[in-house]
């Protein structure tokens, strides 16, 4: 074993961030003077990196989700009469409420001039309707494609963190050239690239990672009617951020928090050439 068996748990505690300040200072001082423990620490980190780099974490199968949902429904018994009979799907429910609230707000503002009321009502209506407009069949396909990509062995066609390999790989496979910036130093390591199909057309899927989560960035030529700017939605528990730039339409799909996905968009845009 190590020449300093007493320090071994401390080395693991150090890489796991589990040591208090006093122990951290003590072990760091010891490491400076002990090559054996330094080698041990490097080995621990090498193992951790191997595990962290591989998609070892499995997703619960869809049918398991369904079985457990049914089980909860059965345990919870019939819905109370004063509530809606069934749980409304999150998007329409939420926006129906927002729409009602907005209408009530505008109606109560009688002191507003008709024109101003009309403008505010129009902008509120737009704000309320926009996410629903974005809630399309394409989104379904994107989420399905994202989920499919998480199945074992389907994530990437070209598995490499080298952007100089991923970008040329798309040449000849799709007739546009998406940017593939390296974002590892920003917390979004590149995993690779994949060819996918949305609306029966080939799209480029660039795969990044955020901690344990996969981010699929789908890229395709923008439709002429595409709305510029950022649109964010939640779909079946997945976050989706969409934007267009340089004639291309980007959809980032992941189960990370929406804030992280927005950060991903900013980081990507800052680095993309």
């Amino acid at each position: 074993m190590s020449l300093h068996p007493d320090t071994l748990p401390l080395l693991h505690g150090l890489v796991d961030g589990e040591l208090d300040a006093a122990n951290t200072i003590a072990i760091e001082a010891h490491l400076r003077s002990c090559p054996d423990c330094r080698a041990e620490l490097e080995q621990i980190q090498a193992v951790r990196e191997l595990i962290a780099a591989a998609p070892l974490r499995e997703h619960a199968p869809d049918n398991l989700h369904k079985r457990i949902e049914l089980m909860i429904d059965a345990e919870a018994g019939p819905a109370p009469r004063s509530h809606a009979a069934s749980r409304p799907s999150p998007m329409p429910g939420r926006f129906a409420w927002a729409g009602g609230g907005a209408a009530a707000h505008v109606l109560s503002g009688r002191w507003l001039s008709g024109a101003a009321t009309g403008m505010i009502a129009a902008s509120l209506a737009l704000a309320v309707v926009m996410p629903q407009m974005a809630h399309t069949d394409v989104e379904d396909q994107l989420v399905q494609s994202h989920v499919r990509s998480l199945l074992v062995g389907h994530l990437v066609d070209i598995p490499t963190s080298n952007r100089h390999v991923v970008k040329p790989w798309f040449n000849g496979k799709v007739d546009f050239a998406p940017s593939v910036p390296e974002l590892a130093d920003q917390g979004f390591p590149l995993v690779g690239g994949r060819l996918d199909y949305i609306d029966n057309h080939e799209v480029a899927a660039i795969v990044y990672r955020r901690h344990l989560h996969v981010i699929n960035l789908f890229v395709r030529p923008a439709h002429t009617l595409s709305l510029p700017g950022e649109v964010t939605t939640h779909h079946d528990g997945y976050s989706i951020v969409r934007w267009t730039t340089g004639g291309l339409e980007y959809w980032a799909v992941s189960d990370v928090e929406m804030g992280d996905l927005k950060l991903f968009r900013q980081t990507y845009l800052a680095r993309a050439q």
């Binding site: 190590s2 748990p9 193992v47 591989a54 398991l64 919870a76 109370p80 509530h83 062995g153 344990l212």
Partner: protein, 202 residues
């Protein structure tokens, strides 16, 4: 008058209580969904690595969610993931004979020196399918690490739980978790890193 006075309040109370109970059940189901459903991947992942069998893992997770739901009243708002994973682990133990022995393991020193040969033999790349990806090989390697080291590794490296949370789930002191984790990582290093010194054997 007395008849109505007696009758009406009872009717009103029983109706209120009925719908109140239904609403409570509904609220409980919603709270359960909100807090526990996001951790289904973690539950499945732990069950998968404990059982090494995807089908058995599904059954254990479903069983665990049922128990979790029925004992949801005992959940006091602590971290949901470790709470749920404790139940998953107990369901696994029940499924293999109701004894914690299987995961308690022998003292670490008994295992030192006896593992690498059998492990290396079974994880020999030639004995694995040629088209297995690196991740699948790594997964197969982890599957071969004996308990209780495997569960400690999974809870720390894949589920990113703290030592304290893992100790609570496995119901052992933190020091035990630290030595199990050290041993698990050493086993992986022996198996995966070509130049790792074979410390266990020297």
């Amino acid at each position: 008058m007395t008849g109505r006075g007696f009758f009406w309040p009872r009717l009103a109370t029983s109706t209120d209580r009925g719908s109140e109970e239904a609403r409570e059940r509904h609220d409980k189901a919603e709270a359960f969904r909100r807090t526990m459903m996001p951790h289904m991947d973690a539950a499945y992942n732990l069950a998968r690595y404990l059982t090494r069998d995807p089908t058995a893992a599904e059954d254990i997770v479903q069983d665990a969610y049922l128990r979790a739901y029925r004992s949801f009243d005992t959940w006091r708002g602590e971290a949901a993931k470790p709470w749920l994973l404790t139940i998953v682990r107990n369901c696994f133990l029940n499924s293999v004979g109701g004894s914690a022995e299987r995961l308690s393991g022998r003292p670490v020193h008994e295992l030192v020196g006896e593992l690498p040969d059998e492990l290396i033999e079974t994880s020999n790349p030639e004995s694995l399918l040629a088209d297995q990806t690196e991740a699948e090989m790594l997964r197969a390697t982890i599957d071969q690490i004996p308990e209780p080291f495997r569960e400690t590794l999974i809870l720390r490296e894949l589920e990113e739980l703290s030592y304290k949370e893992i100790a609570a789930i496995a119901n052992v002191p933190i020091g035990t978790i630290m030595s199990r984790l050290a041993r698990a990582r050493q086993m992986l290093a022996d198996l995966l890193l070509p130049n790792a010194p074979r410390k266990a054997r020297s």
